[in-house]
Symmetry: C2
Subunit: 501 residues, 2 copies
């Protein structure tokens, strides 16, 4: 097992009248003593520097390289033995949040992590707005803001660990198909138009400098392959991280974000689908919604006797909004308290002070406003609930079709991995209660966390996993649910709160 | 047989709901139906453009690519069928003159040729001065002026043929080891210092944009491999062009320029050497010397009875100097007329008006000055003759050692190919007369012309010859004559006009 890039200390022969082959060729000979392949690729800038480097330390050098077994790509050459100074960065490119983790590839341990809002949000909170912007000439802005976000995170994690960005020789990134396109500067707008063909699914490896990533110029950049327009490398990375293709038992990977993507399968088959249900849980969609950050109400309960709410706030500060997990909790609590019917409408006959008309529509107040303390009115509306029910119905419809197509029922699922920006925070019980998650025993659920970042880190530490990731991507059969004849009828029948799995 | 780059018309499937794999992947599938390899490399700029190109002409495209059998590198994608618009340029990078030839790779014929003075001459007429300048911080200037010269020639030949430089998808270049280094921006100065190790001998293929060559950005650039510091790709290209490694008979390739390089051998073995004798024949060395261009006296004869000279002038205009071939002719004529002894000194006792003291040294006047017609005094001095005799002695010493080391004598040479900037023009009879060429029957001599450019053109038209060129380079055993114990003694004994082979 070796990292995505390899550092190798080499003693290169000093040239003499008896051995005056070229500098680069003597390095190749030294590499040939350590690696099987004779196909060695040099970048021009290193050829321009190799004579100096070889003469700095009597031919003692450390080569940084990437190899796929057939070919060695030389990434860097340093004078002396620097093999223990070896770094890579894993990146999860979310539509809303981008996360990065700096990894010491010599010691195999994390050094620093950071996250930031994807700079593209100024061009649209949701993906569809951005794709439209891209098709209207906004591609280069989307491309550049994403690069700026990633480069900012690179600088941040390197700063935390006190290493120079030029010491980073590898980046492994995963994102949905649109984000992958935008990182490469490819127009993703055709992804959302019939026939939903991306520019590419399997991404070639490029040098960091070609992509505009501010690390070692020739650093290896591996980007997880997509399966199709609607199933991106983030899901493939999550599947890799969960190891769902390694076990006999059937697993389900759920990534609840904009789309509600999922992968079902085991070591023999993998089936995937996505219900394009709209960004019900994304910050900015629910009327009082905010991202899962300090000030967001992330847990909500409602007392069945008093019908009064209780909640917790991220960061233990005054609440300023409701994040996705708070929203799911609130809906489950309203339903459990008998304040909500199965169609997602309030039962206003139930007597509580918490009912209030907001813009002439009924809402349940979770927190009254307190201007002196900077607290806004925080409530949940029927429209918020309908949005979540659409997401839930899309998840149910997608999973039902996936299970049907392999003749299995819900109980055959041995493990449910929840991932994605919402899966990290959602309460399993609340999600099961409203039917967003399948009604399976809680012990079968595994909160994967940021599976995309985890998968990226695995490849960073073990280049052999590139083959696993590619194999997973190739093995997945993607069902285009948007055009599946049964999707809409199941979707409609699942738009009820008891219409779970 | 296919050219260095291949143009292939492809009908790429239109994406549909049943086949919505990525644009690039659909191109790869179409390529896979035409080529064996599945390893296809895309440059980022073409990925960024492929969606548009595929939709311009209903999926009809023409791919320009390079393949070594294992891997396909995509160089360009054009809409529609442009397979008959396919161009490449062969370049011979001489220390003094750079020559370029534009070739229609579809029809296999030359379209235009041009030559220009290597812009580096402003930093030194001879190579040693330039290598010194390079080691003193002049590398980037030498690199840039060479690029300027080559790009100027590219523009010129494309202009003659009325094609856009961006239609040129291949360049094949050959030059000595120093020029090869300077084209790549590598410091060549260690080449002339013990232990004479270059940065590299076998040059990787780079894209034109990486090298700063103004043609199609991803165009394939093949540069002939060197054998060592003193035997460059120009000789390898010449050997390829002469086909000396294809025949049972023994051939000698002579390249008389700064060094007097040579390759001796047949289909079983190849032996090479170079006598670093100084640039006796280069323009600017002999006192009245000029390059082989209009106004240069290129042929000289001396009447044995009257001792009066006759000459011809390139371009049939008034003479302004003496080029290398005129110098060789003049020396041979002086010797044949009894005006020169075997040590290269004038026999001033022979009575002729042509003797004259120039700077207190005797000289033979070839043309009296005529200021009204712009004609300078054109003469040959003993110093000029000594310079040529050193070159001749170096050639003799080199060939003697090469022949000795394989136990052969001069008569075993079946063919003598003369190449290089002087070999094109030198009179075979005069060169044999003064011992510069071996004294073999004239019918064994073949004037190869610019063998370097010819070899480059062969690879341009037939990519399979890359393997031949690499095989020749690997097969050549290079004798380091500078340090050969016998060289100086043979050199000294050969410094006489009858001291031929």
């Amino acid at each position: 097992m070796s990292a995505l890039t390899i550092k190798k200390f080499l003693r290169v022969a000093t040239p003499s009248l008896d051995n005056n082959v070229g500098d680069a060729e003597r390095v190749n000979i030294a590499l040939g003593e350590n690696f099987d392949t004779k196909n060695i690729i040099w970048p021009l800038d290193l050829l321009r520097d190799i004579a100096r480097i070889l003469r700095t330390n009597g031919g003692d050098i450390t080569a940084t390289l990437f190899t796929d077994g057939d070919t060695i790509k030389i990434i860097n050459i340093e004078s002396g033995n620097t093999a223990d100074s070896h770094f890579g960065i894993a990146v999860d490119i979310g539509t809303t949040v981008v996360a990065a983790e700096l990894v010491d590839l010599h010691k195999g341990k994390s050094l620093a992590a950071a996250g930031d809002i994807n700079g593209q949000v100024v061009y649209g909170e949701d993906l569809l707005t951005r794709l439209h912007f891209s098709s209207q000439g906004g591609l280069s802005k989307l491309h550049q803001t994403l690069l700026d976000t990633i480069n900012g995170l690179i600088a941040k994690v390197c700063d935390i660990a006190n290493i120079d960005v030029n010491q980073v020789s590898a980046i492994c990134a995963a994102g949905n198909t649109s984000m992958t396109h935008l990182l490469l500067g490819l127009d993703p707008s055709p992804i959302r138009r019939e026939p939903y063909a991306p520019v590419l699914a399997k991404v070639p490896m490029f040098a960091a400098k070609d992509l505009g990533l501010n690390i070692m110029p020739n650093a290896a950049v591996y980007i997880f392959p997509s399966v199709g327009s609607f199933l991106g490398g983030d899901l493939v990375a999550g599947a890799l991280s969960a190891g769902i293709d390694e076990r006999d038992e059937i697993s389900l990977l759920l990534d609840i974000g904009t789309n509600g993507e999922m992968i079902l399968g085991n070591n023999e088959w993998l089936l995937a689908g996505a219900g394009a249900a709209g960004p019900a849980l994304e910050g900015g969609v629910a009327e009082c919604a905010k991202r899962a950050e300090p000030g967001a109400i992330d847990r909500v309960n409602i007392d069945k006797a008093t019908l009064e709410p209780s909640y917790s706030v991220i960061g233990d500060i005054e609440p300023t909004g409701l994040c996705g997990s708070g929203l799911i909790d609130a809906i489950a609590a309203l339903y459990n308290a008998g304040l909500l019917d199965t169609t997602g409408h309030f039962i206003l006959e139930k007597n509580t002070d918490r009912w209030q008309l907001i813009n002439n529509k009924p809402a349940y107040i979770i927190r009254y406003a307190d201007k002196t303390r900077g607290i806004p009115l925080i409530y949940i509306s029927e429209k918020d609930i309908q949005n979540v029910m659409r997401t839930k119905a899309a998840m149910v419809a997608a999973l039902t079709i996936l299970l049907d197509s392999v003749g299995l029922d819900i109980n055959s699922i041995d493990r449910v991995y929840t991932a994605g920006s919402f899966g990290i925070h959602l309460s399993i019980e609340s999600s099961k209660a409203i039917g967003l998650y399948p009604k399976l025993p809680t012990e079968r659920f595994v909160q994967l966390g940021n599976g995309s970042l985890k998968g990226a880190k695995e490849v960073l530490l073990n280049a052999g996993k590139i083959n696993d990731a590619n194999r997973i991507a190739e093995k997945i059969t993607y069902l285009e649910l948007n055009i599946h004849p049964a999707f809409m009828s199941i979707f409609r029948s699942a738009k009820y709160l008891d219409g779970g799995h």
